[in-house]
Amino acid sequence: MVKNVFGRIYIGLIMLFLYAPIVVLIVLSFNNSKSRAKWGGFTLKWYSELFDNSIVMDALWTTLTLAILSAVIATVLGLLGAIGIDAMKKRNYQIMLGATNIPMLNADIVTGIALMLFMVRFLPLGFSTMLIAHITFNIPYVIFSILPKLQQIDVSVYEAARDLGANSVKAFWKVIIPIIKPGITSGFLLAVTMSLDDFIITYFTRGAGVNTLSTVIYGEIRRGIKPEMYSLSTILFLMVLIVLVMSNRASKKQVK
């Protein structure tokens, strides 16, 4: 009984701190009033203004391209990496696992500055540097999604495919890839989310005039909060939410 009450309070607090601000944000994005304190009725005006704003639309386009492209490339590289790590002997395996883990735990601002300082030496800052940065921080997530799947595979399944007449490439495509596919899918979706989500690393590696949704929001907000930004934040939130739900679906499938 008491436990139940505490449980509810706990959930209530979490909801309050995590979701209440977002709910407020979403509500405000439909508010027909510039004031944050007053409800002026329902409107889609801020959204339509947003869609007329070419900077925002460019940023949306950049964000999506960046997310999809970086996730695709990171998935390919991460898959190769996972296969390599999986084949390693114990000692190297541990080293590689650590090396994969560190970028995930490293402070974004350090990663961002480091990548920027490194890349300015041979590339002008712009879309390509952002892309490289996103690929870089996405790879570990892909590796950690695929590696467990690979480890569950019994090598004799691959050998059975060879035994039945498949050459190494065919055996890989027809047997290994289908078995680890749920891991690849969730790794890809996770990479998309991470890319959509990122602000700090993007901020440091972008060039002048190239914006993602998060950098547009940041830039606008520094000049004072306009209601369009509520709508823009809401859109970003929804995009991430959709990909997360898809990723959950994918991992549920793999349990089945």
Partner: protein, 362 residues
């Protein structure tokens, strides 16, 4: 040209500097059922993997139909394998599993359909086409693995302890099923097991292995009746293993007694190993045998009694249809031709238990 379907010539293989197979020679004829038998870690699976193409020998060659296939990739050999853990494709149903090899060989749809039907009938699992491997019992998965292999019409089928995980009843059913398959399909079987009874009942030819060395190759009867050394004798069936000395042709000494035997050609006073099967020891009245002793233990074993008799300082294992009560005095007799005399092996090679220490892999 020889009429051997498969020849292993001087195969050696080492892993991490440890010798696993040593100068292995083996000839297999078409439609033979050959069993590799030996304790865990003796190199049975490694031998099979070399035949299948999954492992390259360090030295020696694999000859198939007169052709050297030592370096040939597994997918190019007319050999299929039933793996120790079945290795069915988990993401495919039974039908897709069986069709895998045929689709790669670009067989027609009708051909594949017919083959699936035929193979499922053969392994007695018709109606299981759409089931996923993880919804099948161990025995059923086993049979699907066999079906998946045989639809490719291999010349040789390799089976690595395929019945290891099954209970006794199912195991016996599958044993006769496999023999039926072999006769029906005319395929050559190379079968791996460490179960000596299974080897004796199923094989045309048994290869007894120990520490990467072939100990003896022969028919089940050869191997049981005339083991070539103490290891084989001890590994195949129950036996009384004694140490002795060859006094002269046809005269051996053991347990302090001089006994007539049928073996010739040993050196004078050469130390030898002697094997006497439990069913070959006859029990007589005191004084009317080779050694006198006392019954220490008796167990009823269905068809006969298993007795332990201490005689001449040795515990004899004896199978007899007549029971002698514990404590009774008896005399033991063995007919000369039932006394198996063998050159002595290296002491160290005889200790079976030592292999258990090497069992840290897997």
């Amino acid at each position: 040209m020889s009429d051997n379907l498969l020849e292993l010539r001087g195969i050696s293989k080492a892993f991490d500097g440890k010798t696993i197979l040593q100068e292995l020679d083996l000839n297999i004829k078409s439609n033979e059922f050959v069993t590799l038998l030996g304790p865990s870690g003796c190199g049975k699976t490694t031998t099979l993997r070399i035949v299948g193409g999954f492992e390259k020998p360090d030295t020696g060659s694999v000859i198939f139909n007169g052709e050297d296939i030592t370096a040939l990739a597994p997918e190019k050999r007319h050999i299929n394998t039933v793996f120790q853990k079945y290795a069915l494709f988990p993401h495919m149903n039974v039908e897709e599993n069986i069709a895998f090899g045929l689709k790669i060989k670009k067989k027609s749809k009708e051909y594949i359909k017919d083959k699936i039907k035929y193979a499922l009938k053969l392994v007695d699992l018709d109606g299981f086409e759409k089931r996923k491997p993880n919804s099948l019992s161990g025995g059923q998965q086993q049979r699907i693995a066999i079906a998946r292999a045989i639809v490719n019409e291999p010349e040789i089928l390799l089976l690595d302890e395929p019945l290891g995980a099954l209970d006794l009843k199912l195991r016996q059913d599958m044993q006769s099923e496999l023999i039926r398959l072999k006769n029906e399909l005319g395929i050559t079987f190379i079968y791996v097991t460490h179960d000596q009874e299974e080897a004796l009942t199923m094989s045309d030819k048994i290869v007894v292995m120990h520490r990467g060395l072939v100990q003896q190759i022969g028919t089940p009867k050869d191997i049981y009746d005339e083991p070539c050394n103490a290891f084989v004798a001890d590994f195949i069936g129950d036996s009384n293993l004694l140490k002795g000395k060859m006094l002269d042709d046809r005269l051996v000494e053991f347990l302090g007694e001089r006994v007539i035997c049928v073996d010739e050609g040993f050196g004078k006073n050469e130390p030898v190993d002697i094997v006497i099967r439990p069913e070959d020891v006859e029990i007589n009245e005191v004084g009317k045998g080779i050694v006198n002793g006392v019954v220490k233990n008796i167990l009823y074993k269905g068809a006969n009694y298993e007795m332990t008799v201490e005689a001449g300082g040795f515990d004899w294992l004896i199978h007899n249809t007549v029971a002698y009560p514990v404590g009774s005095m008896v005399s033991l007799y063995v007919k000369p031709f039932n006394i198996q005399i063998m050159k002595q092996m290296d002491e160290s090679e005889m200790i079976l238990d030592e292999d258990m220490e090497n069992e840290t892999y897997e």
